[in-house]
Structures are given as structure tokens and as C-alpha cells.
């Protein structure tokens, strides 16, 4: 039943998956485009049957049938694929005809997929009461998003074909309920600090940007999305009613973000906790995250839910939450939410990227720096397709030491990231022993963060980096 595709054509399709461009899809012949759409849904975890020539041979009708598995008897959806140039929009009559065919073919819902777009009356036809839920319209833009999302969410199966582990319908991308542009959201700017290379100062950057914002009076929530929980460790709980002590162990945290992922709570709000710094709160992580990680495969339902949870207007400053409830006043949300990610491309990294308005990439100039960097960009593009967020603000050089080697390769790195379209943030964070000194102090419960070291070059640079970043994102 599964669609058969010749090796040469499959290679062409895979090239499109690597860097999806509409012009490359338009270059396919119409029968090739039908097969390409079939290939996309196959990669999205479905079993696809090409039916245009046998069951619907007389022109526009149905090209492909979708099944949830090889053993499924009845298709769950039918697909009509139209490769049109962008200026040839599908009309009311196109959708009406498709709806008629669906009705004649057993009332199974379908996707009308095109490289162009739908005229307004066509959209209305698909939304009519009789058509509701039966015809979903996938225009060129949504098709590109679907290809990008599926392309970055699959792994090889037993046959060697890269597919998502479970069928992923395009409905997740079409619903828009988790689109950062359309959803009801708080005023917080959500920043993710990400790079799949370890030791590039992701946690240090997340922490110190958070502290720099907090010292300017911004309300900041730091979210630890890494099972190593380094960010959590650097922000121990305050000891209520006593001066911070360096000899007594800090009190232990009892709630972690894992409770949300395990489904014990549906909102993140109850898990937000105090730190010893003013204006700074934390959503702590623990080692359970390693065991809960499902890797880089698609889980659009959980991903979309996390986008909504992070941006929820109900995620607010805890102390103020109680006050506003008592006084019946408007809730006060965070100004900034900063997510720290793990080095690996985990499920949690996908979540963080999908939920972010902007992404900052710390990069350390050393020989292994670039290895796998392109995979990080793949994941960013994949999650951009889900939520429309994850705009790359830029990359910043961390732990900079000026040596003949670093000076030699820095331009090469700039060329390569220019090609990816990733902007440079000119403020570099120099290597500074005060960073470790400050971290060990705060981990032991002290209050002298990096900004307590007046002469620290890294502290001064993190303040500069924040200024530079604020200019780029335009969020105060």
C-alpha cells in the first residue's frame, strides 16, 4: 500500500527537506508534486497510498489516501495536491468540488494542499457548517511550515526512511492556538539561551542576563530546562528570617518543573519559586528531566501546550499573585522569562525554542564549536514552524581569550554564520575567573553575584550585552 518512490526522486525530495524552498517545489512536475506530498505525509508518520491514477483518474479529485498504519483498513484522510504558481489562487469552486469528491468517497475528511493560496471565498467554503472538519486547506506557506516541522522531527525507521515516531497531522500548525502572533499572552518577552554544544556558558549567560535585568528593576523568571539543573543550583532558596549563611546548607527545593511535564499540574504558576535576589524568580529543574526526555521527535500536542503555558497571562509573579487576588486588582506578569537549555537537542530544548520569542546563542571559539551547530539551527527552524517564534536574536562570543588561534578562526565563524543569516552581537564575554567565583558564592547561598565584582570584565560585558540585545528585540 505504501507509496513507492524511485531513489533519484527521493534524493530530490530529501534535498527539499534539508532546506525547504518554494521554488524547488514548484520545479517538480505535477505528478512528482503528488508524490512529494505523499512523501511528506509518509515522513510525518502516515502510511500513504497513491490513488489518483487508479481510483480517481478523471482530473481533480483525490490524489492520496492517508492511513494511520500499514494494517489500517480505512483511510483517515484524503489528499488533493495542487502545484500552482503563487499568483494562481484556488477558488470557491475548487474547494466545493473537493468537498463533493470527499462526500462521494465516503465522507472521509481531507486536505486540499497547494503551493499557492486560497481566495477568501474558498476559505469560507471550507468553513461552512456542512464542510466543517471535512476539508482542511493547506496553502503554500503552511505546507512549507509542515515540511520544516516534519523535517526536523524525524529519525530513521527500520527501513532507513526518516519518519516521525507517531503520525503528526498538519492540523497542529493550522489551528493557530499556539501561534505567538495569534494567542492571548502575557507581556513577558520569552528568551531562550541555546546551543547544542556544551561548555559555551549558556547557564552563565541566562543567569547573568537575568541578574542584569533584575538589577534594572525588571521582573525576571529564569526557567531551568536542563536536567543537569545548574541554573537551579546557582539560585538556592532564601532562608526566611535569617541572614544568608555560607556554612549551613541551603534549604532544599521541593517543587520542580518536572511536575508540569509529568502532568501533576497543568499550569507553571504554582511551580515558580523565590531566589535570594530581588526581582528574580526561578522554575527549578532536577535530574528527573533526563529520564523524562523523549528526544528530538515530534510531540506537537505537548509542544503547543508548553507554548501556551509559558505565555499564559496567569503565569505571574507569585507574591503579587496572592496580593492581586486579595485586592482584586490586575495581575502583574513577568517582564522577562529566560529559558536555559541543555547541550543536547532534547525534547525540553525543543519546548524552550518553540516557546521563545527570541533565541540567543552563546558560542565559544574553539575547534569543536561548530560541530553540530547546523543541527541547532535545524531545531530552531523546526520550532519556528510550530509557533512562529524562536527568532534568532544573534550569537555572542563567550569565554573569549584573544590568542592567535581564536583571532584566526573568528572571521571564518562570522562568514559561516552570516551565511546562515545569524547576526553577530558585537559584545563578547571575556574569560573571567570572577564568573566561577561568583557562581560558587551564589551556589553556597551568598548574595555576591557576578555584578558584586566591580572590576569584573565579564560583569561589565554582560551589562553591555543586555543593552545590545534590548536594542535588537525592542522590548524594555
Amino acid at each position: 500500500m505504501a507509496i513507492a518512490i524511485e531513489t533519484a526522486l527521493q534524493k530530490r525530495f530529501e534535498d527539499i527537506f534539508k532546506a525547504p524552498k518554494l521554488e524547488d517545489i514548484l520545479a517538480l512536475e505535477p505528478p512528482e508534486f503528488e508524490r512529494f506530498v505523499g512523501y511528506v505525509f509518509t515522513c510525518a508518520g502516515y502510511t500513504v497510498e497513491l490513488v489518483s491514477s487508479e481510483r480517481f483518474p478523471d482530473g481533480p479529485g483525490v490524489d492520496l489516501d492517508l492511513y494511520t498504519s500499514e494494517s489500517a483498513k480505512r483511510p483517515i484522510a484524503r489528499i488533493e495536491a495542487r502545484r500552482y504558481k503563487p499568483d494562481r489562487k484556488l477558488r470557491f469552486s475548487d474547494v466545493a468540488r473537493f468537498l463533493g469528491v470527499l462526500q462521494l468517497a465516503g465522507g472521509i475528511p481531507g486536505y486540499l494542499v497547494t503551493t499557492s493560496d486560497f481566495a477568501d471565498p474558498a476559505t469560507i467554503a471550507a468553513e461552512m457548517e456542512t464542510a466543517h472538519g471535512k476539508a482542511r486547506l493547506v496553502n503554500g506557506k503552511d505546507l512549507m511550515r509542515y515540511i520544516t516541522y516534519i523535517g526536523g522531527s524525524r529519525a530513521p525507521d527500520a527501513s532507513g526512511l526518516k519518519r516521525t515516531p507517531v503520525p503528526v497531522s498538519p492540523d497542529w500548525l493550522l489551528s493557530g492556538s499556539h501561534s505567538l502572533q495569534n494567542m492571548e499572552r502575557s507581556n513577558a518577552y520569552v528568551l531562550t539561551v541555546a546551543n547544542n554544544k556544551g561548555g559555551v556558558a549558556k547557564t552563565t549567560t541566562a543567569l547573568n542576563l537575568g541578574l542584569a535585568l533584575a538589577e534594572r528593576g525588571k521582573r525576571v523568571l529564569l526557567v531551568d530546562m536542563d536536567g543537569q539543573a545548574s541554573l537551579t543550583a546557582s539560585l538556592p532558596l532564601p532562608e526566611v528570617g535569617t541572614m544568608p549563611s555560607r556554612t549551613a546548607p541551603p534549604p532544599e527545593r521541593k517543587h520542580f518543573i518536572t511536575e508540569y511535564f509529568a502532568g501533576q499540574v497543568s499550569d507553571l504558576g504554582p511551580l515558580v519559586q523565590l531566589t535570594r535576589f530581588s526581582n528574580l524568580w526561578v522554575l527549578p529543574a532536577n535530574g528527573d528531566m533526563h529520564r523524562m526526555d523523549t528526544g528530538g521527535g515530534a510531540r506537537p500536542e505537548a509542544e503547543a501546550a508548553f507554548v501556551r503555558a509559558i505565555h499564559s497571562p496567569s503565569l505571574m509573579v507569585p507574591s503579587i499573585a496572592a496580593t492581586t487576588q486579595a485586592l482584586n486588582t490586575a495581575p502583574v506578569s513577568f517582564d522577562w522569562i529566560i529559558l536555559d537549555t541543555s547541550p543536547a537537542q532534547t525534547f525540553f530544548t525543543r519546548l524552550a525554542l518553540g516557546a521563545s520569542d527570541g533565541v540567543l546563542m552563546p558560542i565559544n571559539v574553539e575547534a569543536f564549536v561548530a560541530l553540530g551547530l547546523s543541527h541547532a539551527f535545524d531545531t530552531i527552524r523546526t520550532m519556528q514552524a510550530l509557533s512562529g517564534g524562536a527568532k534568532v536574536i544573534g550569537y555572542t562570543i563567550t569565554r573569549w581569550k584573544s590568542t592567535a588561534y581564536t583571532r584566526g578562526v573568528i572571521k571564518n565563524l562570522q562568514f559561516q554564520l552570516d551565511a546562515e543569516g545569524v547576526p553577530l552581537l558585537v559584545t563578547a564575554i571575556p574569560y573571567d575567573s570572577k564568573i566561577d567565583e561568583a557562581l560558587s558564592t551564589t551556589m553556597a547561598g551568598g548574595l555576591r553575584g557576578l555584578f558584586g565584582f566591580n572590576r569584573s570584565a565579564a560583569a561589565a560585558s554582560y551589562r553591555d550585552l543586555l543593552d545590545e540585545m534590548l536594542k535588537k528585540v525592542g522590548h524594555a
Binding site: A367, K411, F415, D418, A419, E420, V426, T427, A457, S461
Partner: protein
Amino acid sequence: MTTATHPIETQVGASSQADANLTTTQRVAQATKRVAEFLHVSDQKRVEAAITEIMVEEMLRNPGFALRVKGRYDELAPQKKPRSAQTREPKKVKITPLDLTPIRHIEGREIDITKPIDPYFLFEVYGAAQLPKALGYQTLPNLREALEIVQERHPGTKPKGRLTKETAIAYIVAYVTGAAN
């Protein structure tokens, strides 16, 4: 109107400009000496003990006096002399951005900074007009590696004259952009 000054304040006043550079021990010695001279006595150790005991008695009955002593105590706090290193601004680093504008983005390419720079890649990203400037960022050894990439595609060709940055760039630009063909 002038304010009357007690003679001992004029003579013993410890906050005079001249005392400003003295150590605490020197200030004690100087103040005791002045009191001894004022009282026309010579045993400075006894003077010091007498001053201290009278001070304690006076402080206990006169809060204003106690405040004056506290004020002077605060004034005598050691002033940290700024060393040159302490006034120095922390050394910040700014990476100079490339003075180039990419004409296209190439997504999905494997990034590796350890490989020699590929002039064909630079041509693709920055175009013919910006290629000489992009190559100008390279050192001569790097250009030599880039040159070998071009020579692989154009066997038997080489730069004109002695190999310098200029001749290497001219050769690479000519062959990569097709101007030499």
C-alpha cells in the same frame, strides 16, 4: 559676627589640614603634645591617661560631646587610597563585525571553522562585488589554502608574480567569478 573659639580648639584641633596626612598613632601623639604644651606639663603618658579618663566622664554626662567624639572617629576612618588598578575600567571586548552584507543565506550547510575557507562559498554568500573584501579578511596562509581549492578546479593556473595577499586575491577572484575564463 564672629564665633568665639576656645583656645584649645585652635591649638589642639585634630582636623587641621596639616594633620590630614598623619597616621592615627601620629595624630594621638600630636594631640597629646598640644594638650601638654597648653597645660605646661611634660609627662605625655600621664596627659594621655588624664585626657582619656576626663573624656569618659564628660561623654557619660554630655551627649553632645559624645557625638563630637563619634563624628571625629568616623572622620578618622582609613581612606582607601585608589590604586591605579582599582580605577581602571574593566577590559571589555567587542568583536568587529564584518563589513559585508550577505546577498543570500545558505541554510542547512554543515558549519566547520577548522576547514580552510572556501572561496566559492564566499562568492555564493557575498557575490562577486564583495568577494575581494571578504578575501581581504584572510591571512596569507589562509589565502594560500583557498588558492589551492581554486587550483583544484583550474589545474595548471597560478597567480601572477610573487605570492602576496593582493596577487592571491586577484587570482582567486578572477577564477571564482569566471572573469578569467
